[in-house]
Assembly symmetry: C2
Homo-oligomer: 192 residues x 2
């Protein structure tokens, strides 16, 4: 079994390429364990949250939106990036994003998992929460000004169909639908 | 229900920020559906593949490696980015990466799903394959020169433990373990 030293890539120097509103980009020169050097292209991101939530009618709440990097409209679970001041409390981001994007508040937010979305080049960590006991509220937090969202509620069968149709096609939402299916199967197997 | 025009963000201009070996970065000025403008920070990536594969001993094959953006060592299913010439045949990338990273060849590669890993800023599409009927080969394709990998084989229980330990912590591998669990439960429920 290898030790940490056998894997570690030591930073020799960093070239800052870009500092944006959402991402920063840098290129590191690194020393590999065998003594040779290599370059690493890196994207730094503040992290994000996503919310799995199922209504009383056994439907998952999703939002349809245009994604510029893909140049298309896709269907996703509610999500958003962590704002300054929320770094240590991603549950607050989850609470805020659920209300902003869907107009719902939830009584409980359970942490499901946290995932690095693309560890080869990006440090983005996505926290997934499972929100329960929803209330539709009268005057929710306003949506982000530069976002157009359309709300959907899908049964598990409808969600699986939208995966086939290609409208559900991102990592967090594919994970969420699978999580839901697993939850249903576990429930059923306990009833048997 | 909204139409495509109600969502579309039209590109007004693009500023190229960086052209790397793996990623390109740009900032677009876009016209939103309500006529206002906004900026979009974009990372372009050639896409990648990941391989879910279970040995005859019911163990999932994983690799341990250092990830510079995270500054740590994590445990992942075998994966790699699509090389030039492989764009239309990600299954070839899967075949190559499985052999390079693990020394295994597989008889069949079934497409499981393709997922955008972070559609808010990146266009990276990750294709996940399920590879079956493994053969360990004598002289496999060499590993990438700048990669140090250590091979692991984990039972489902071990994988779930490594999720708790935080060593398994990336989207594709969390998806893969959940996929495996779902597969096992489905098999069991058919036997009942």
């Amino acid at each position: 079994m290898l030790n940490y030293e056998d894997f570690e890539e030591k930073t020799l120097s960093r070239k800052e390429i870009f500092q944006g509103k959402i991402i920063d980009v840098a290129v590191d020169d690194v020393r590999l364990p065998d003594g040779s050097t290599a370059k690493r292209e890196l994207v730094f991101h503040p992290g994000a949250v996503a919310i799995i939530t199922i209504t009383d009618q056994d439907k998952m709440i999703m939002v349809k939106q245009f994604r510029k990097p893909l140049e298309k409209v896709i269907l996703e679970i509610p999500a958003g990036k962590i704002d300054p001041g929320e770094q240590d409390v991603p549950i607050e981001t989850a609470r805020r994003e659920l209300e902003e994007e869907t107009g719902y508040q939830a009584e409980t937010f359970e942490h499901v998992t946290s995932m690095y979305v693309s560890p080869g080049f990006a440090n983005e960590l996505l926290h997934i929460f499972y929100a329960e006991t929803l209330t539709k509220i009268e005057n929710p937090l306003p949506q982000d000004e530069d976002e157009v969202l359309e709300l959907y509620e899908l049964t598990l069968e409808e969600a699986k169909q939208e995966i086939k149709n290609g409208l559900i096609c991102d990592a967090k939402t594919l994970f969420a639908v699978q999580y839901w299916e697993l939850m249903m199967l576990n429930k059923k197997s306990k009833e048997v």
